[in-house]
Symmetry: C2
Subunit: 406 residues, 2 copies
């Protein structure tokens, strides 16, 4: 991935440096908008919610615009009580001092180990150097600086016309384990340890921006899982600074779909990268449930298949054990007629109606040896459909997570 | 485990033989009551429900008593359509012919691979030999015959006085993978690939028997998980033949608690054996949540901890990663005050109120090297409490399930 090829939204710059929270790798990221930007966010619904999530929600709710996002890896600043809250505020303040803006104009995020106090002095000491590195060419550094068990930085961008203006969307994300995003906007949307930061130079009203982010999140970050554990720190933030000069996009604008489709496309690409980089993953699995009574039922079924340890170990073992898929739909709680269910694996039918199952085992084995696996379920009971993405459950997942702290 | 030491309820006999469904081990079990017994059952709520579950529910609902339970391993007779239903009925008929009773007086159960037709002719051919092996000394053979990936047969029994009569309860069970029981009685109780068969010579009314089984199941089989996958075949059956001669126990009998406590004790012992024998398990984990607003909230939190892959891999790695436990309570969906939460691992406090965490890492490491692990969570927000049992998520779990069919 070469960042030269990414269109960078006008008026945004980024930096990523090493400040000493991790052993030797970049651990501090900054994204800055030249002018105050409209901000939207979706956040973990975990009750044990990290201090930076609390502070960022507060700052996002202010009527003022947002100038920057600072994020560290190596420490989640979660389960850290009052000291943690104070440290999250000090992170924002350190950036505000560099940008000569108010603390409330800076959003903060953290990822890493839970339950240890953040070494805030290291961040404060590094703040001038971090600001000194700001450049429109340094988004990749920022993407690297938020990595934890990730094996590669994750970026996605789009450039397109919006009401006569050229606009760009650029996002980056991190996440590999403790991934089962369930994020909700403060306006009431939903389902990750994952962080995602997206910026655009489009001019967009706050209500429309939040609605677009919440919708896109449902069909991207909230439709993936690695291990089913929803983190204390998940958040996705979207900043729109208006530098593209388009007429402000509102909920009833005719170009609404143009932007929201591009945003969703960026979010889906980022979300899929998280799954591809899932801890220990050897397979990327796309689950597509169709023929459900409603889209919501299809989502519940797809999520149940994607959460099944037995399905995930079977795919790791390249075993066409469709009975485990059928069982996962069965215990998902949705209504359907089991005998009407059809299941295909990698495009090959393994279960037809009335439990008819006959397939070429050798061909199936060959298909399952590929890295990308598809599971298609047709319930033949309606028009509801949903997609969900996950990875296999491998020996390395257990190795990685059996010794995370040590 | 020596069956000579188990009290066998009067009027019951059992058998377990090899009939050719598995490679070389016992695969066909039979339990028989000399006289028609009152029967109660709890069954999987999986919509993809195996044929034997459908047939057994039908037979249990008949006003006639039950004479026998036949169960096979090696094939689940699930996702087998109309042929599967016919084969389940033929299983019952094969036993009925041997006992000269009606097909409806025989309950059936199956466990094993999903989606393959049962070789019913092998069971029919073996029926006379199976009946020929019936003996009050052969319960262990029956327990062996229902094993799949189990590494040991699982039995539990109690003998006690009930209204002047000596009564006995003897149960056996199987289960190792696809374990997340969620069973419900037809009367409306709830949350397994697990089978459990319990017999008693107490005389008990049908309503009271079902209520006692449903209640005991909630606090035993429905409070365990190995992998979170709820099977298509789970069932627990309880037969009471009255041979002890006690006055019939009803819902308002003063001795109700004597029997129900003993029944629950048998169910808890059997359920714990399943977890101890969980696929790949190296640790037995007891989770005890206290101080919740209600027992139900405590159960939801305990279940969330027990279902967390990150908690289970941490215990496998002997890592005191209490942050993962706190996170699992946080995303369980219950209401609580995070800063009030206290967590102990193996009796050693790892998290105090206000996120105070300080413990002896060396002592913790020693405690976590034991086979039996306890996780105690006090939410300090009420009197609700619940226990849940699970095992760790090990490298062997992945190895076993990555190659089950092959």
């Amino acid at each position: 991935m070469n960042e030269e090829s990414f269109p960078v939204p006008k008026g945004f710059s980024a930096a990523g440096i090493y400040c000493g929270l991790k052993k030797a790798k970049k651990d501090l990221a900054l994204v800055v908008s030249e002018v105050p930007a409209v901000a939207a966010g979706v956040y973990t619904q975990n009750k044990v919610c990290a201090a930076p999530v609390v502070v960022t929600k507060e700052h996002c709710a202010q009527p003022v615009g947002v100038r920057a996002i600072i994020a560290n890896s190596g420490n989640a600043n979660a389960c850290t009580g009052e000291s943690g809250m104070e440290n999250a505020r000090r992170m924002a303040r350190a950036v505000a001092e560099q940008l000569h803006c108010r603390e409330q104009e800076v959003l903060v995020a953290s990822t890493g180990v839970i339950g240890q106090q953040l070494q805030i002095n290291k961040i404060e000491t590094a703040a001038p150097a971090l600001a000194g590195e700001l450049s429109s060419a340094h988004f990749r550094d920022a993407a690297e600086a938020i990595m934890t068990t990730d094996t590669f930085p994750k970026m996605s961008a789009r450039q397109f016309m919006l009401g006569g203006s050229t606009v760009a969307i650029l996002g980056f994300t991190k996440g590999s384990g403790m991934i089962a995003p369930n994020m909700i906007g403060d306006n009431g949307a939903k389902h990750a340890t994952m962080l995602g930061f997206i910026c655009t130079d489009a001019r967009i009203g706050k209500t429309a921006l939040q609605a677009m982010l919440s919708d896109a999140t449902e069909r991207s970050f909230n439709s993936i899982s690695v291990d089913g554990d929803t983190s204390t720190n998940d958040m996705v933030l979207l900043l729109a600074n208006g530098a593209a000069g388009n007429e402000s996009l509102e909920s009833d604008s005719k170009d609404y779909a143009i932007f929201s489709d591009n945003l969703e496309s960026v979010c889906v690409e980022l979300a899929q990268m998280i799954v591809r980089d899932g801890e220990g993953a050897t397979k990327f699995i796309e689950i597509h449930v169709r023929g459900a009574a409603t889209d919501e039922s299809a989502n519940i079924a797809a999520r149940s298949i994607g959460g099944s340890s037995l399905v995930k170990t079977a795919i790791f073992g390249m075993d066409a054990n469709w009975g485990r898929i059928a069982a996962a739909v069965g215990y998902s709680g949705i209504d359907f007629i089991p005998a009407d269910m059809e299941i295909s694996l990698c495009g090959l039918s393994v279960l037809g109606k009335n439990y008819h199952s006959e397939f070429d085992e050798a061909e199936m084995k060959r298909l399952l040896s590929e890295k990308d696996i598809t599971i298609d379920v047709n319930l033949n009971g309606g028009t509801g459909e949903a997609k969900f993405w996950t990875c296999d459950l491998s020996l390395d997942y257990v190795r990685i997570n059996g010794s995370y702290r040590s």
